[in-house]
Amino acid sequence: MTQTLRTSSEAPQAAPAKRRGRRSATLITGCVLSGLIFLLALVSLVWTPYASDDTSGGRLTGPGAGHLLGTDKLGRDLFTQLMTGSRIAVEAGLGSVLIAAVAGVTLGVLAAFAQGWLDDTLSAFLDILIAFPTLLLAMLIVAARSATLGSAVLAIGLAQSAVVARVVRILVKRVLAQDYITAARTSGTSWPWIVAGHVLPNIWPTLVVNLALQFGLAVLAEAGLSYLGLGAPPPNASWGRMLQEAQATFTTAPAGALAPGVLLVLLVIGVNLVADGLRDTLDPATRRRRS
């Protein structure tokens, strides 16, 4: 008598070997997608089909031989704009994540070492900060300075550092509760050494995954800000602003209203997939739990 027993109406789970395959497939797909945009951004530094202020193409021409994707309402080449936009998006993502990483890790480690009321106050403070959407905090900071890419990046990075700080605080607290930390302390290791030698090596896999997710959110936030006119000022072609400008001509020239959005989605999905892939490869604890 040979039969398969099913405990619920679910199909059997894939074998671990196959799952490992799917895991790296996630990572590879993510790398390819985001790599494509990164490549576009890199190339735009040295070469674009047209100059970004070249309006010789005629207004709102459709996709064709001279202009791969056509032109915008000022006659600028759409593909050129997209390339510049990819550079702004990548810069916004990297810049914000850098700020979030430096400020967030510092704040998070400090908060983790705090005890008693200071600990309560700090975590309540972080909770309040996190309750405010990135976009709103960013709007305030952008308004306080001026509408430039730098302002937007600073704003997004600062808003995200609260999120990173909370994650780091929880992670560090968990590490500090381990027996080997107590052992290191009793043997007289100083705190900076404990942080460098035990805490950071233990939290970095989760931290990297979180920062990758923040990268995607930063790109989205920058697009939102520039859609509202609070990002990089003209003539910089941020994807958000391109979309805002193309909104009125959506039905007559759909390429301009679709292409920046598609690239934006590809980049964000790409880094999210990279984050998922990294989580599964780097973090042994979630590797077992996630299915």
Binding site: M1, L5, T7, S9, E10
Partner: protein, 266 residues
């Protein structure tokens, strides 16, 4: 009359690892069988297979007859009827085995209501009685408590009360004392022993610890790497272990027993 009849049971993971290999055993009505082996020997999986509760993706071949029902390949609807009525189980970890968000009383009331059709105040009285039977002090207070508000030993008594409330023909105890303090382990074992004797229930008692198994069961089956290594009367096996592996188990059990004796003498 044979209550549980496992024949040629083999459990494999989806990627082809064999976890239980051609295992056969029988438990007659009212009989007690100990299943012993180190962790990973496949004993817990065997108990889950008896209830048709193996994790997704595991393949089962062979046959498991429980009170006349073929478990292997049975539909979920039939399994639901068999579980609780023919066999009920006490798991190893009482903290996670109970719903953390539900008062203990309601959790015991569930099988009572289902198996005995009780309602209202009658049901409440039955809950209190069930808690008293497992020797819990202040049963009314415990019934109102959440699992995190009572001790590990108390939680395991609650889990036992839930299993007994099903009035099963076979009680499966899967390492029921392993998660408990040594000081309450003995009480728990005596409690299971007494309650099962009163009800004339069959027991399948799983443990890695021969000394523990010997307190409750008469017959024992030793498992290693998913296979049955040795089977026989507990005293016989303790006195004359045939297999190398069983000898090692007996040796460690002896050391524990003498330690326990020394403690009791104090």
């Amino acid at each position: 009359m044979t209550l549980l009849d496992i024949h040629g049971l083999t459990i494999r993971t989806a990627d082809g690892h064999t976890l239980v290999d051609d295992l056969s055993l029988t438990v007659a009505g009212g009989e007690r069988l100990g299943l012993i082996g180190e962790s990973g020997s496949g004993k817990s999986l065997t108990t889950l297979a008896v209830l048709g509760l193996l994790p997704d993706g595991m393949t089962v071949t062979g046959s498991i007859g429980l009170a006349g029902t073929q478990i292997v390949g049975a539909r979920e609807k039939h399994l639901t009827r068999v579980r609780g009525r023919d066999a009920a189980i006490v798991f190893q970890e009482p903290l996670t085995a109970l719903d953390p968000l539900m008062r203990v009383g309601r959790q015991i009331a569930e099988p009572l209501a289902r198996r005995q059709g009780l309602k209202g105040t009658e049901l409440q009285r039955a809950v209190t009685r069930a808690l008293e039977q497992v020797r819990l002090p202040e049963p009314d207070r415990i019934a109102r408590a959440y699992p995190h508000e009572i001790s590990g030993g108390q939680r395991q008594r609650v889990a036992l009360a839930m299993a007994l409330a099903c009035e099963p023909k076979l009680l499966i105890a899967d390492e029921p004392t392993t998660a408990l303090d040594v000081s309450v382990q003995a009480e728990m074992l005596d409690l299971i022993d007494t309650l099962v004797r009163e009800r004339d229930m069959a027991v399948l008692f799983v443990s890695h610890d021969l000394a523990v198994v010997a307190r409750v069961t008469d017959r024992v089956l030793v498992m290693k790497d998913g296979r049955a290594v040795e089977e026989g009367d507990v005293r016989e096996i303790v006195r004359r272990p045939r297999e190398e592996y069983t000898r090692a188990l007996v040796g460690s059990a002896r050391r524990l027993e003498s330690a326990l004796d020394a403690r009791r003498a104090r």
